[in-house]
Symmetry: C2
Subunit: 374 residues, 2 copies
């Protein structure tokens, strides 16, 4: 059945109907009641919650109830290091940092150099490991607390992870790995095992502390299937089921369909390493516009922010609710032209990236404080 | 087609026709020319070679030619720790020790606590690891050189092994693992990956030394399929193909069919831990006899050493060629009675085990000299 979109861990395309997707995945939309519960602890909601960029969850209600009774939880998210990070990658990480601050939660950040080596024909393990350490700088640059943030580059922590993964693997048949991940008989045996390595950090906080500590995974919704196996085996191994909170995809620069992805091509993606000139050029040239054909028509009828990529991206990056509202109104009314809203986005992103790169470079000297090795 | 026997890594049964088996597996019988080549280095052949207990190989000729040109090789063998070691386990290890002495070769001995955990429903990882360290004592007790012998308990060296296994896994499809190991869709994903962990020590000597070092695997013939994957991927990864030398199975105490195995039951197996009384009782009571029904008939017609388990076991444990020959002749002629040949075996095994257990206990204090950890 063609439903107009595809969302799997290995493909995202089409115009995604997120409420339908949540239903299909069996995840729960984040209700206003749940938002209020979060607000009680955070004081103010993060804009990614109030704007429903994070829109769905699994067992977040359970995790919060436990938290309110004094049970700590840990955060877990990750990155597959196959190249430079781009703006899309940062969305869940920025939100994760907020969660760490609000809930005083340790974060386990898994960098999957093993998986990227296994699934990318042309990459050596030394390359994916090196990329992993480069990507780690982007994580640290976001301001995570070095006391509470543990970055795992898989191959450098594999002694610990492998032992945990064995427990998960023993309880997971090839059948279920095939069903969840779309493996075939031609898939390599490393990929078959790898879901167990990815599940391992779900249980790591419990193992390291000797207490039952639930993990909360903030990630884009397409990553959800990866943790189904972890959730399935958790009760069998005596660990709490992992909770999750899911975000929608930062759309590609070129339009609302699909998600920003390196494989979508250079013009749809802004990389962390893109300099100001490149950023401005990409936005001015490629950003899909919801504006009208002519300035006259635009002034008269106004633009459509719901399909306008500069506006949509500002939803992801402009923290100030009032500013964003004004941009929405002015763009809808025709007061703000397409070139102008692009300029606003280009300014915002350029400034953000310039600061990020500065923090990224100063992170180099601190990296060892974050890396978990065995 | 029923050929009267089955030999796979997970089943050995029936009356094994070893030359037919070698043909089916595609291994090469050890020729007299090859024996002469070995003899040139060893001075005297080990009785397991002259008696064709080790009877087949892969690329042993290539390995020896390289050795003669000055290229060193390494030995690799292993043990799956799911319980106590028995006499059958010791056969390839005794021979491996001789190879180490003759060729001054380092030995990598893999104890697969991970695999046994994955495939044995009722065993915890902590149990298989503990069994692994107990089994290590039996290896050390055989007199291996601590300077040249590296015992690997998988989970305690998994950081190094995992990185190598990733290389093997990337080149191995689920299809080929299924074909070689008989996996199904219901097999757990740990088992799917595990052939890559088992292949890793084949390449470890090359990786640790930075030179191309071929490994030679002495093992019972049923283990041969385990290294087909290692041999397949070796050239793709730029390592020399692993050589192998295969032995026949120490038959169960109860008869010539199949191999000694813990799962065959207590009366068919003599464990290292069996005390003298138990050994004597098992041999006297259960050892299948090639003797005649009555003493009179035996004296007249003689016994059949070819199906007599005490004689067959003496082939595996009595180093002295002359003694063995005399036993053969006396038993065939009827001079030696069934009870007497059993007594000879019981004396031999009891003495061997008493000494072995003494060495085993004194190995406890030296174990750390042998264990490779990362």
């Amino acid at each position: 059945m063609n439903k107009g979109f595809v969302v799997t861990p290995w493909e995202v395309s089409g115009d995604i109907d997120y409420s339908r997707l949540a239903k299909e995945f069996g995840t729960t939309p984040i209700s206003d009641t749940l938002l209020k519960k979060i607000e009680k602890h955070s004081g103010k909601l993060h804009y990614m919650l109030s704007r429903k960029i994070f829109f769905s969850h699994r067992d977040l209600d359970i995790l919060l109830s436990e938290y309110e009774k004094g049970t700590k939880f840990a955060l877990y998210t990750g990155r597959g290091p196959s190249g430079d990070t781009h703006l899309g990658h940062l969305i869940p990480w920025i939100f994760t940092k907020w969660l760490q601050d609000v809930f005083d939660a340790p974060l386990y950040f898994q960098i999957t150099d093993d998986e990227k080596y296994l699934c990318k024909r042309d990459l050596d393990l030394s390359q994916t490991t090196a990329m992993g350490y480069e990507n780690a700088l982007d994580i640290i640059a976001l301001g995570f607390d070095p006391e509470k943030t543990h970055i795992i580059v898989d191959t450098d922590y594999s002694k610990t992870l492998y032992k945990i993964a064995l427990q998960v693997a023993k309880k997971t048949t090839a059948s279920s790995a095939k069903a969840v991940f779309g493996f075939t008989n031609e898939t390599n045996i490393g990929m078959y095992f790898w879901p167990a390595m990815q599940a391992a950090p779900c249980f790591l906080p419990s193992i390291l502390s000797g207490q039952k500590i639930r993990t909360l995974i903030p990630a884009a919704i397409d990553q959800d299937p990866y943790w189904r196996i972890a959730r399935d085996v958790a009760p069998k191994l005596g660990y709490p089921k992992t909770s999750a909170i899911h975000c929608s995809f930062l759309p590609p620069l070129t339009g609302m369909s699909g998600k920003m992805s390196t494989s979508e091509g250079m013009q749809s993606t802004i990389f962390i390493s893109d300099d100001e000139k490149t950023v401005r050029k990409k936005i001015m040239k490629y950003a899909f516009s919801g504006g009208k054909e002519t300035v006259e028509e635009h002034r008269k009828k106004g633009g459509n922010p719901d399909i306008d990529i500069p506006y949509q991206w500002l939803r992801y990056f402009e923290e100030d609710e009032k500013k964003l509202r004004k941009i929405y109104d002015d763009y809808s009314s025709g007061k703000l032209l397409s070139g102008e809203i692009k300029q606003i986005l280009a300014d915002k992103i350029s400034k953000f990236l310039a600061e990020h790169r500065k923090k990224r470079e100063s992170a180099r000297k601190n990296i060892s404080k974050f890396i978990l090795k065995d």
